[in-house]
């Protein structure tokens, strides 16, 4: 039995030099077959496995990871959590996700440091004002608690903002009080620990090299650790979905591009909210370590290098300095890139596939972290029951029918 985590446990272990701590997740070797195999031990994959066990009692599950768990975009994003989306299907899955984050630390007995410090999206043009007022109206009917606030309220919530920028004065903001951030690695580690505890196998350094099917139905996968059989297969490999889909014999309407982020050197707390400024394409929050965590732009061309182009960083930084003048004398500590899947309408795909028994979860673009619990919740239901109200609208066939879920209509980016 694994350790139960608590202040008491830490104190107890301290007294015996922490010799009693066990592995957070078992070291596992693949079995011959599983009921469900999830490819990809990122947040979405692990959450899917977790809710398969928690909600549907399916625990004969393996999560296969080519590298190390949580090593993809889960560990590379800017950890923003919000659900103030315009379209009903988006609001539904992101709000489900946000509400699961509220109690995730307790559910997993692992402190994921969900910090509902509030997220504000600045309106800096008349068009944005109208867009966010529309979103606020939509959210009210979707059960998502948001409000459109005045510049004065913006300044009270975030004193370091400059309201009267020469170009884009702050005209108001869409405010979600219960949005915030969480510790990204902890989300992956917490789910992994809980999955392992349910008897699931998390197998790292295990790359899937092929998908086995018989009569149009998936029967297993080939991996660098041998062939493994399964009844159902879930592909959850952001950044490499296209490559995996090809192995499974179907195509996806996605392209992979590099998205960048950066952090400043740590400073004492100056900002207790998350601010997104879509007109100038910048967003920022302050981590518990004190770093200003900044999201940059995505390249417009296909790229698998995890290295973006510098000019996106430049554009983001100059925009943020205009909104937060104090940034000018801070120093950038580190910047990095991740590979994200972009779909035709910039909304995700959670869907059955042409291969029976094979399900796909991809296309989260720049906004995947916030959706991890909700995505896992819905994906698990989709795999277990064949459909889920949370995922139905995100099916693959929407592109053929022209039934898009377009979030850009209210305001720019979808981080």
């Amino acid at each position: 039995m694994k350790n139960h985590y608590s202040a008491f446990a830490v104190a107890r272990e301290a007294l015996r030099n922490h010799t009693g701590w066990q592995r957070a997740w078992r070291r596992a070797q693949p079995k011959a077959r599983y009921d469900v195999i999830i490819v990809g031990a990122g947040g979405h994959g692990l959450a899917t496995a977790y809710y398969l066990g928690k909600r549907f009692g399916i625990t004969n599950v393996a999560v296969l990871e080519k590298g190390w768990l949580g090593g993809g975009n889960t560990g590379r994003n800017t950890t923003i959590i919000r659900s103030n989306y315009l379209q009903d299907p988006s609001a539904a899955i992101y709000e489900k996700s946000r509400s699961l984050y509220e109690t995730l630390s307790q559910d997993l007995n692992y402190n994921v440091m969900f910090s509902p410090r509030g997220v504000m999206m600045l309106a800096q043009t008349e068009h944005e004002v109208r867009g966010y007022q529309r979103t606020a109206h939509a959210n009210a009917l979707q059960g998502v608690k948001t409000e459109f606030i005045s510049p004065r309220q913006v300044k009270e919530l975030c004193p370091i903002i400059r309201l009267d920028g020469p170009r884009y004065p702050v005209l108001g903001a869409l405010w979600q009080e219960r949005g915030g951030t969480a510790r990204h690695d902890a989300v992956a580690w917490g789910y992994a620990r809980a999955c392992s505890d349910m008897g699931m196998d998390i197998i790292q350094q295990c790359e899937v090299t092929g998908v086995r099917s018989e009569g149009g139905r998936v029967v297993g996968v080939d991996t660098t650790k041998g062939a493994i059989g399964c009844d159902k297969l879930g592909i959850v490999v952001a950044g490499h979905s296209g490559v995996m889909a090809e192995k499974a014999g179907f195509r996806l309407p996605i392209e992979s591009v590099a998205l960048q982020a950066l952090v400043s050197e740590p400073i004492k707390p100056v900002m207790d909210v998350v601010v997104m400024a879509n007109t100038v394409h910048g967003y920022m929050s302050q981590s518990d370590k004190g770093e200003m965590v900044i999201g940059g732009g995505a390249d417009g061309y296909n790229n698998y290098t995890q290295r973006g182009s510098f000019h996106h960083v430049e554009e983001t930084v100059r925009a943020l300095i205009e909104t937060f003048p104090m940034l000018s004398r801070l120093k950038m500590l580190r910047w990095w890139g991740g590979i994200v899947d972009m779909t035709g309408d910039r909304s995700p795909i959670l869907s059955k596939t042409p291969l029976e028994g094979c399900f796909i979860n991809c296309g989260w673009g720049t906004g995947g972290f916030k959706a991890i619990p909700g995505s896992g919740w819905g994906m698990a239901e989709l795999i277990a029951k064949g459909h889920s109200p949370l995922t139905d609208a995100f099916s693959l066939d929407r592109f053929r029918e022209g039934r898009f879920i377009d979030e850009s209509v209210a305001a720019g980016v979808a981080h």
Binding site: R130, R167, K268, R329
Partner: protein, 1006 residues
């Protein structure tokens, strides 16, 4: 105690004493000092507090790898946190304060964390603070954030008074690093004639060589460096720069370099930092190596420093960190420090060498100076509270049993050297583990490659794993020759300078001291000084299954401090690999991310601040608007007047006045921002029939037609009036935002799909100023200007004519977006202001009233005209807006036609455009949704429509709105309910015809 020596100091200008302050205390120093050397010279051993346990921290290094000596620099709007004292040049009046403590550096409450250290191991916060739920956000997190965070933020209201700029540079070979390797590499490369740029991050050339001794071509290194530098400076194909750091390497030979022009002299004037964007065919990274600490208990006490740093402070800054310094090492190089100290008249109680047989010639030299040498020994622990008191000697192979207590006030440690491979790694270069030297070095077979697939980064000297002077210079020449060869140039002089140096005995990898150190010692042996990561933390991570180096790094925060693990990465990696029982290369290394050391955000933004943040696009009438109370609205990068406020007027008053005046008599609108694209050619008609949903090829010369453009995905993307100029020429008006987008869209289709078609386009948007003359008196005022017959007969509705008005060349379009009698007059931009002035003059009699975008919007809404961006949002097709009349049935193809045939687009249940009238006459809230019965499968309220435009109409004295409603046109007269943003309060509105005003168009057709 640490002191300033009376003689020596390569960098000091003793003729230039300066005063500076640290935590309010005024202290002396010299020009040439760094803040770190000056603090040490004033016996300021403790300079800060660590991140997690708030332990006392002193200077440990002498360069950019320094993890401890970070200070708040400057004050007021020039305040800057986290400045590295070791790379901060001293200047007169410098103000610094230490960081991360309260209330003071000496007495810091946060130090309780230190007492609780055993309760706060790696990752403790993942295991605690879970209950009660609300406590994380409100109690635990604020405490953790407050105790973390290092430096003090600049004041929020302060604008940075300094300026920054960028510079583009293109070279054949960029040499990063001005040590002997870099200089030699540059010299051999330059002799082949290629363009070479040499950049050095510090203010001094030569790197370590002048401190470490030996001779080059019979000269001491200083002399050789000066000679070589002079040669380089004399070559026309070479530029050399100091205070310019290679920050990052990107794809296709792009390098970022960070120049600090005035940090060392704030009153110098000019830009503070300059960011260089360098395109280099090849990059030679001669970035040297960094010394590693040794992991023994108490190695984080102030006074415990890198051996090379101690040497630097004595030789370069005539500053002795201690009177009595114990040297501890696993290699020969540290002996140089002992020798330097001894020769400077300082005491060296012992050299503790972990190697059973000790070292070579350098050891003999030290012994010759009478220094006690203990081989096969180590340090069990360093004693002292805030500074070193003594070290406890033990067997390196033992468990730390103390053999002897050796009093001293400083410890110089050396665990060997690691090449600086950051620039090599930034763009994908891979590394090999070097057993003999115990370090990672570049793997030439897995180099970063450029756009041609060729390797473009080469490392030379220490950075390439060449660790002694002789091989450094050999490697520099060799790599330089490789670079020249790869560029296909004649290699010049390949001779290597002759070197005399002392031979060194091999190093012995030592990752823990003593080797069998028990937990009590391991939990006091620091790996990461700033983030407080200890050997025991990494071992705990391994025990808990964090086996990947990335996992361990993130779980323990090893190497994630502001030094990015320059001192801790290899030691941490080795500790992890031992804990896992695997080889170091098997465990791997973490990726290096740019920048090499932190660079200012100001430098990244460059000139783009204030007025230059973004371009503001101005029409030829901008200045007039500015002078007449324009309330600006940003539309893209344009500024358009939202309205013109007169004294005492509210914005709403002004809008109402402008509308009323226009409808009553005469209004003037600056429409210059509207896109104007000319399309000409034998295939132009055919082309426009593809671009627009309606038929443009049949438009008669002299006439205008309103047209719609859709994306290939079917959605309405732009609209505007098209005029047929002549047989082969059309002029297409677009929305303000559409001009550049639509022109690019047209060119895209012409160039990439229909390149056989004979069509030319030109974007003439800025050639013309365009003014809308609107209202019952519009015709009269034009007649007053004279020169053109604008009568109903001569210029009917939806026609255009060329001519002159008031002597100005014009093209007049009789079109209306307001429902009034209206003319849009285009004149060359250089005459725009003149035309505007004449219209105002002639219109004075009719109360000519300039109006802005809001009046424009209200008037078009009163007429039920749609507005791109209001009625459309990228998800709306023309059919939704009842614009079937503008969609040709005759054409078998146009962009978007196929898309509009998809099932969801033809679905009769789509929301469609209608007018909306609140029952109480109030104005519907912008963006409100109409609520239907019930909830969907996700528990969300069902909706049946939404408001797209909503205004108060001064003309009708009530609220009017347009909206998209489920089967709207079939439900005329029906009352539906819109929710306010509380989701509960409802507003009732009747579905009506969207044309609220003058439905028969009597006003515009006069």
């Amino acid at each position: 105690m640490s002191i300033r020596l009376s003689t020596g100091g390569r960098f000091l200008n003793r003729a230039r004493p300066v005063r500076f302050s640290f935590n309010g205390q005024r202290l002396p120093g010299f020009l040439g000092d760094t803040l770190a050397s000056a603090l040490l010279a004033n016996d300021q051993m403790m300079v800060g507090r660590s991140f997690k346990y708030h332990r006392a921290r002193g200077v440990v290094a002498s360069g950019s790898e320094e993890p401890n000596a970070l200070v708040n620099l400057g004050s007021g709007n020039r305040h800057e946190p986290n400045q590295r004292a070791t790379t901060t040049a001293l200047f007169d009046g410098l103000e610094a304060t230490s960081q991360n403590h309260w209330p003071s550096l000496e007495f810091d409450i946060g130090v309780v964390n230190n007492a609780l250290m055993r309760f706060l191991p790696a990752g403790f916060y993942y295991k605690m603070f879970i209950h009660p739920r609300s406590f994380w956000k409100h109690i635990y997190e604020p405490f953790i954030r407050q105790s973390a965070g290092l430096g003090k933020a600049p004041a929020p209201e302060d604008q940075d008074p300094d300026t920054y700029e960028h510079f583009y540079s293109f070279v054949d070979v960029l040499v990063v690093g001005g040590g002997v390797a870099g200089l030699q590499a540059a010299l051999s490369a330059a002799q082949s004639g290629v363009k070479v740029m040499v950049i050095e991050q510090s203010a001094h050339w030569g790197g370590r060589a002048p401190v470490d001794g030996g001779t080059i071509d019979g000269m001491d290194p200083d002399a050789w460096v000066e000679k070589t530098l002079n040669t380089l400076k004399s070559m026309p194909n070479v530029t050399v720069h100091t205070r310019l750091m290679g920050a990052g390497v990107y794809d296709h030979g792009y390098a970022l370099a960070y120049e600090r022009l005035s940090d060392h002299d704030p009153d110098k004037g000019g830009v503070r930092h300059r960011l260089w964007r360098i395109r280099a065919a090849r990059i030679i990274a001669a970035t040297g190596a960094l010394e590693r600490p040794l992991s023994f208990a108490g190695n984080d006490l102030p006074g415990v420093m890198l051996a090379s740093a101690v040497r630097d402070y004595v030789v370069n800054y005539a500053t002795a960190p201690g009177q009595s310094t114990v040297v501890v090492t696993n290699n020969d190089d540290a002996y140089r420090t002992a020798i330097v100290l001894k020769n400077a008249g300082l005491d060296v109680p012992a050299i503790i060498d972990a190697r059973p047989e000790g070292g070579g010639a350098l050891m003999e030299e030290a012994r010759g100076l009478g220094i006690r040498i203990e081989t096969g020994r180590g340090i069990a622990r360093v004693r002292g509270l805030r500074r070193v008191v003594s070290v406890q000697l033990c067997e390196q192979d033992g468990d730390g049993a103390v053999l002897e207590d050796i009093p001293c006030d400083a410890v110089a440690m050396s665990g060997g050297w690691s090449p600086v491979v950051h620039l090599w790694s930034h763009c994908g270069g891979k590394l090999n583990w070097n057993e003999a030297g115990a370090f990672f070095a570049p793997d030439p077979d897995r180099a970063p490659t450029d756009q041609t697939g060729a390797p473009f980064v080469y490392c030379a000297g220490n950075a390439n794993g060449a660790m002694d002077l002789k091989t450094v210079l050999q490697d520099a020449v060799e790599q330089s020759q490789n670079v020249i060869g790869s560029l296909g140039c004649e290699s010049g002089d390949a001779s290597v300078p002759s070197v005399a140096q002392t031979q060194e005995a091999p190093l012995l990898p030592v990752w823990l001291m003593p080797a069998q150190a028990p937990k009590a010692l391991r939990s006091k042996a620091w790996l990461d000084y700033q983030n407080d990561v200890k050997v025991s933390d990494v071992q705990l991570a391994a025990q808990e299954g964090f086996e990947s180096v990335e996992h361990t790094k993130r779980y323990t925060t090893l190497g994630m401090a502001t030094d990015q693990g320059k001192l801790s990465n290899i030691n941490g990696l080795a500790t992890l690999s031992k804990a896992l029982g695997e080889d170091i290369p098997a465990v791997g290394t973490t990726t290096f991310r740019p920048p090499y050391t932190p660079i200012s955000m100001g430098a990244i933004a460059g000139e783009a601040r204030g007025a230059l943040f973004q371009p503001v696009r101005k029409t030829p009438l901008h200045d007039w608007h500015e002078a007449h109370g324009a309330v600006w609205e940003p539309v893209g990068q344009w500024r358009r007047p939202y309205c013109f406020r007169r004294d005492g007027e509210s914005t709403q008053d002004a809008v109402n006045r402008e509308i009323t005046a226009t409808r009553a008599s005469l209004g003037l609108l600056d429409a210059s921002t509207l896109g104007k694209i000319v399309v000409k050619g034998p295939d132009a008609g055919r082309f426009l029939d593809m671009m627009y949903t309606n038929m443009m090829s049949t438009l008669p010369v002299g006439k205008c037609r309103y047209g719609l453009m859709c994306s290939e995905n079917g959605f309405l993307s732009d609209d505007g009036v098209v005029a047929r100029i002549d047989d082969q020429t059309w002029l297409c008006h677009t929305t303000t935002g559409g001009a550049d987008r639509i022109h690019a869209h047209m060119e895209e289709w012409l160039q990439t799909e229909w390149w056989e078609w004979k069509v030319w386009t030109a974007n003439l948007t800025e050639q013309y100023a365009q003014i809308a003359v609107v209202g019952p008196q519009a015709r009269t005022v034009l007649e007053t200007l004279g020169g053109l017959d604008v009568s109903k007969e001569a210029l009917p509705f939806m026609h255009w004519v060329d001519g002159t008005l008031g002597g100005l060349p014009v093209r007049v379009y009789r079109i209306s977006f307001s429902g009034e009698l209206s003319y849009e007059i285009a004149t060359p931009a250089s005459h725009g202001r003149a035309l505007w002035d004449r219209l105002l003059e002639a219109g004075a009699a009719f109360d000519a009233t300039p109006y802005g975008t809001e009046a424009l919007h209200v008037m078009r809404a009163e007429k039920g005209f749609i507005m791109i961006g209001d009625e459309t949002d990228g998800t709306v097709i023309p059919q939704d807006l009842g614009l079937h009349w503008a969609i040709s049935k005759k054409k078998d193809d146009f962009l978007g036609k196929r898309a509009q045939q998809r099932t969801h687009m033809t679905d009769p249940d789509r929301w469609k455009l209608v007018g909306l009238e609140t029952l109480d006459g109030s104005v519907l809230p912008d963006g409100a949704y109409a609520v239907a019965e019930g909830r969907n499968a996700n528990g969300q309220r069902n909706t049946e429509g939404r408001v797209t435009s909503t205004y108060h109409s001064p003309t009708l004295g009530r609220g009017i709105a347009m909206g998209l409603v489920h089967r709207g046109p079939d439900r005329m007269g029906e009352v539906i309910r819109f929710a306010r943003d509380d989701g509960e309060t409802m507003i009732e509105a009747r579905i009506v015809n969207p044309v609220f005003f003058d439905p028969d168009g009597e006003k515009q057709n006069v």
